[in-house]
Symmetry: C2
Subunit: 394 residues, 2 copies
């Protein structure tokens, strides 16, 4: 089957166990798949849009209720849907960062966080990680002092990733936020890898702004995400339009400036909403997903010369491995060179690792079953043995 | 069937002829429906993302080619996908409008155009329409002079809607752009109601920035849209990131600041792309869609006391009617009051008109068949007769 001229049907999730670092949490639930079909058409959620004419007020389909539940789920006061976490960063930066303002990010901040600062005209400064690749509250305190001294004012905003995209490490956001608040710096917590995957309590960690990604971690279609805030910041971040047509006298009701009015008018909001009950349940089973991840990491580490570069035991399934002393040695003699690993995995029905990588690579086994985890672990060992790499007995 | 907890399946397009003003052009093609199913999962288009790691460079699925074809289709030099036309307005405003800059919009500008100006810190000024509800080049020239005098500088940007959302009238963008360019004012043409519906030639009309809506007029899921520009503006509008991590030394490649990097990473870009061959064909049949619209307007106008408020004959199927002297009279005696009209239409398998409206209302018959158009025309007359309203014989 194809989906029109030159477009093959995507079958990755049907044919493989997919360990792709960014795709694991965004696979649709069966309900989301149904919603996607039923609400595929453009403005499909607008059939019953009534006053005050805003996405988060639509009662049928129950988007209003979904917005409320989403805020509660995150333990924040108010939530809005956004076209991807990046549009959440943009809305916050545009609200609190002025031209030339210093802004703190971390050594693990995502490029989209940097872009949001750049677009708002802010000047980014990073907080370094420690030797264990963790951003500590002490490091944040030092950088606040340094940057404040050099810039002549305190940073306008601090971005911190609850789990980062490089190591998948869990950072002490609560401690970090406490420090930032001592300097009256608002905190944007990037939960793109956590919201929808593990329990996240916005108030508890002290986030002024909490951002999640639908397509990365909430079993939703792209682009989708959530931006939540506290009642303290709600009126500022979600300020409604104040402009007026100078000839017609038109005003534009309660449309929110940073949201550009409505955000996800069809398939994306419906996919998020249909998956939400499943997402709410799956975060309660987080420990199982971690133990499956650890099983695979253990198997990999039993191959001599292999190291896990992420913190261990794993606190998040996104994991960075170093196989320079194992699979990369094999790559030197294998006729497929560095491509032997992905090739051997695909022959065994596994995919998602960057083709050609045998030194440092990431994988994310989130969402696979116990049996699949055992299978993946076994297959890594089988490939190692086939390549003549020594495996420590477990 | 439902799509999860409390979510009913949407069946509007299956059960009714839908005349909704904003939904007509956004119904998916069959190919888009297939693409939506096959690419529903989060980051579904990223399986083969290679250097330089940007959505518009992905070869499989053929997004790179789609971007090129889209630019050609619009006769512009370069095109990018955006999460809705509004995000296109935002990118342009953020690029060319500085704090306090005067900006020209029209009496028919959409609220999202105003929001984009507000977000960029610009000061909006409207160009009035003439008595026929058309924005003329002369009116634009006068307002440029007035606003320049009062603001002390020429407007930073002019927004003009090729077809407006209130009357569905076609405005002389080419003449308007010529005037604006005489004052070196760049022109953003809002093609949300035209791109994907009728032929649009960006260079011919003189657009510096051309914005279209996927979910409104390109048979695509929401949120989706296109932002195209000329080679003259491309490097400014699609400027790549210049920031650097001050500790890690990280730079962020060719990610475009205003796009926030990648934009539509899954179902939305795939839906647009799968529908594109159909969209390209359907704009060639534009005259047929207009004649079907005119047939319905003619029928309505044969009901005594009914007026078409849009220009006539219609140049776009989005149409504004005034039935204060006909259906609204009937509403005064009907036990369903103003709801009798939508109720009578729904009984006949027609929907999309605002429930309760019997004075001024809009409809958009785009995409219906010849037979359906005849049926809709007949049903309006049947309802009028049923209510005892005099109908002129045709």
């Amino acid at each position: 089957m194809n989906c029109g001229e030159g477009i093959d049907t995507r079958l990755i999730e049907e044919l493989f166990i997919n360990l792709d670092p960014i795709q694991a949490g965004g696979r649709l639930s069966a309900d989301a798949m149904k919603a996607v079909l039923a609400y595929g058409d453009g403005y499909s959620v607008c059939d019953n849009c009534e006053k005050p004419f805003r996405l988060d007020c639509i009662k049928k389909p129950p988007l209003a209720r979904f917005h409320d539940e989403l805020a509660k789920f995150l333990n924040m006061d108010i939530a809005r849907l956004v076209p991807g976490a990046r549009r959440g960063f943009q809305a916050v930066a545009d609200t609190v960062v002025g031209k030339g303002d210093p802004v703190l990010l971390t050594a693990f901040s995502h490029y989209t966080e940097f872009l949001s600062v750049e677009q708002a005209g802010g000047v980014p400064h990073e907080v370094p990680a420690n030797d264990a690749n963790i951003i500590t509250a002490d490091a944040v305190a030092s950088r606040i002092e340094e940057v404040t001294r050099s810039a002549g004012k305190t940073p306008a905003l601090l971005y911190v990733e609850e789990v980062d995209y490089q190591y998948g490490n869990l950072h002490p956001v609560q401690d970090i936020a406490r420090v930032a608040h001592q300097y009256d710096i608002p905190v944007l917590c990037n939960g793109a890898y956590t919201i929808g995957i593990m329990p996240v309590d916005g108030k508890d960690i002290g986030a002024d702004f909490l951002v999640g990604s639908g397509h990365k971690s909430m079993a939703a279609p792209a682009p989708s995400g959530v931006l939540a805030t506290t009642s303290e910041w709600a009126d500022t971040l979600f300020r409604t339009t104040q402009v007026k047509g100078d000839i017609t006298g038109r005003t534009f009701g309660v449309k929110e400036v940073e949201m550009m009015g409505c955000t996800l008018m069809g398939v994306t909001s419906m996919g998020m909403m249909a998956s939400f009950p499943h997402v709410r349940e799956r975060v309660k089973q987080y420990d199982q997903h971690l133990s499956r991840c650890n099983r695979i990491v253990d198997a990999l580490c039993s191959i001599e010369g292999t190291q896990v570069m992420s913190e261990y035991p794993r606190k998040h399934p996104l994991t960075r491995m170093n196989t320079t002393g194992s699979f990369d040695k094999a790559a030197k003699t294998n006729k497929k060179k560095g491509f032997f690993l992905i090739s051997a995995l695909r022959e065994r029905g596994i995919t998602g690792i960057i083709a050609g990588s045998t030194k440092v690579w990431k994988f994310n086994p989130y969402g696979i079953t116990e049996e699949q985890a055992r299978y993946v672990a076994d297959m890594f060992l089988e490939i190692a043995r086939e390549e003549g790499l020594p495996v420590k007995s477990g």
